[in-house]
Amino acid sequence: NEVLSNSLPYWSRGMKDDRNTPLTDEDLDKILPKDGYEIINPPESYRPI
């Protein structure tokens, strides 16, 4: 399916499986434990590189 490869969403090009699809907050809440943990927000100085 060469034709399809460029129509794939950007995150899965070059990746056969789906481990790089963006995770929504619900996904994270389903996957990660909530009790005993707190979600910390990035400090203002945090600039994703």
């Binding site: 070059g14 707190e38 910390i40 994703p48």
Partner: protein, 101 residues
């Protein structure tokens, strides 16, 4: 500009974007966590253990799986406040399924 070998590196099955970090000093601040882990790529979310037995542990979620792999490779055994970090890929069953094409 670091050129990352991306598409062709084959990732082992257990590699994923969520890293479980252990052995963090209790006084590690959010800024420190973002500073240490942010160096390897944009971070989706960080959950810090605040209750009794979860203290000293954290979940760090990266946007990109290659950044997570890079972080684990470099940060395992990283010295923070005199303690050596343990970084493990968090094995979770509910891997999100990509939409059918």
């Amino acid at each position: 500009m670091n050129i990352r070998k991306r598409a062709n590196t084959k990732l082992r099955p257990e590699v994923n974007r969520i890293i479980f970090v252990r052995n963090l000093p209790f006084k590690t601040t959010s800024e420190e966590l973002f500073e240490i882990f942010g160096r390897y790529g944009p971070i989706r979310q960080i959950r810090k253990g605040v209750a009794g037995k979860t203290k000293g542990t954290a979940f760090v979620v990266y946007e990109d799986i290659y950044d997570a792999k890079n972080a684990v490779d470099h940060l395992s055994g990283f010295n923070v406040g005199g303690k050596y970090l343990t970084c493990l890929y968090y094995k979770h069953k509910t891997q999100p399924k990509a939409g059918g094409i």
